[in-house]
């Protein structure tokens, strides 16, 4: 399994001017995007909108076809919005890269298993939904050597990452909060995009 933060770090190292649309696990202050980001102005955290990273990412990909849009999704989140995989493949944005952080649990609510853990096959679901290319990594070395091929592929691309669960069990009010709110990100992203 891949360490969550290390997975984000590898993707971030190759992002260039890509926008990160991140939800829940991939955006967790303790082990996700904010700890390693190299271009915060192009980070688009939408933790408050459960399951909708893939949908927001699709909208951005259609609006900004010249720029890579990288969705950092969670398995619990995507399970709530499975139809979006078909919606994405139907519009077929060539600049959309959908990374799924698959840890098998609802990490931010205490680690309860997600439905279908060990049964549902994300790689097959992505192929069946119609993504142009599908990758599957379960160790950091393969991800590190394979990331260039992933990002050289024409989208929409789906990448399943088997990540180790990092369970949040502290009280919600005691958890660290991201420095940038969702609303701030919405206000700042258009200006960042306009800079090219």
């Amino acid at each position: 399994m891949i360490n969550n933060t290390e997975a984000v770090r590898v993707i971030d190292s190759k992002r260039g001017d890509a926008v990160f649309v991140a939800t829940m696990n991939a955006n967790n202050v303790s082990f996700g995007l904010p700890t390693v980001t190299s271009n915060e102005q192009l980070d688009f955290p939408i933790s408050g909108a459960m399951s909708k990273a893939s949908s927001v990412g699709l909208g951005l990909a259609l609006a900004q076809p010249q720029r890579k849009i990288m969705i950092l999704d969670g398995d619990g989140s995507l399970l709530m919005n499975l139809g979006s995989m078909v919606t994405v493949s139907n519009k077929a944005p060539t600049n959309l890269y959908h990374f799924l952080f698959d840890n098998g649990v609802y990490a931010v609510t205490g680690g309860q298993p997600v439905p279908g853990r060990g049964r549902a096959d994300w790689e097959e679901m992505a192929k069946g939904a119609g993504y142009a290319a599908v990758f599957n990594f379960d160790n950091l070395e393969d991800l590190t050597t394979g990331i260039d091929e992933v990002l050289a592929s024409t989208g929409p691309v789906f990448v399943r990452l088997a990540v180790a669960p990092e369970i949040e069990n502290t009280a919600v009010e005691d958890r660290p909060r991201p420095a940038r709110s969702v609303l701030t990100a919405f206000k700042e992203l258009p200006e960042a995009l306009a800079k090219g």
Binding site: A49, S55, V56, G57, G59, L60, F186, P190
Partner: protein
């Protein structure tokens, strides 16, 4: 005394959208908006984004909006009930100036309606503080322009209830 035919044509809606530089229609088909499909697919100036479930629409629209485009959402009132968290989190909370065209299933000016989709929808919009306009004829279509202006001015979602099925 003359009576006006209670019908709205899809061309009237589309003309209003184009007049206001709308770029994308994010939608899931319903019987109230059925006849728009052929016109929309044949019109290259409006990009149609079909979805599998209505809650996707506000989220896709949010991405389009923050990316510099001007989308509208087109779904049925039943889909609004399904979309509550998207309207909250990606409409109201982030001040998205989104116009939602909503097929008003069960709407009637006459007698009682037994359709709970019709009985609840205006109450739901009131609860969210979302203003709305009703359109039933081609003459009403200009209310879409009012809704788009209001959404932009107030930086929040505005609804347009489509009260009759479209004429062919």
């Amino acid at each position: 005394m003359t009576t006006q035919e209670a019908v709205i044509h899809p061309a009237a809606i589309i003309n209003e959208l184009k007049k206001n530089d709308v770029t994308h229609v994010v939608w899931l088909p319903d019987s109230e908006t059925n006849f728009m499909y052929e016109l929309l697919t044949g019109d290259s100036s409006l990009d149609l984004v079909p979805v599998c479930r209505e809650g996707e629409t506000m989220a896709i629209a949010a991405g389009l909006w923050v990316g510099g485009k001007k989308p509208v959402v087109l779904i049925q009132n039943t889909g609004i009930f399904e979309s509550g968290d998207s309207i909250r989190g990606l409409g109201l909370d982030v001040h998205q100036p989104l116009v939602m065209l909503i097929g008003y299933r069960g709407w009637s000016r006459h007698g009682l309606t037994n359709d709970s989709a019709a009985r609840f929808i205006e109450h739901i919009l009131h609860a969210w503080g979302i203003n709305y306009y009703l359109i039933e004829t081609d003459d009403d279509a200009q209310r879409i322009t009012l809704a788009l202006a209001e959404a932009e001015r107030d930086q929040k979602p505005v609804a347009v209830l489509v009260g009759t099925e479209f004429g062919a």
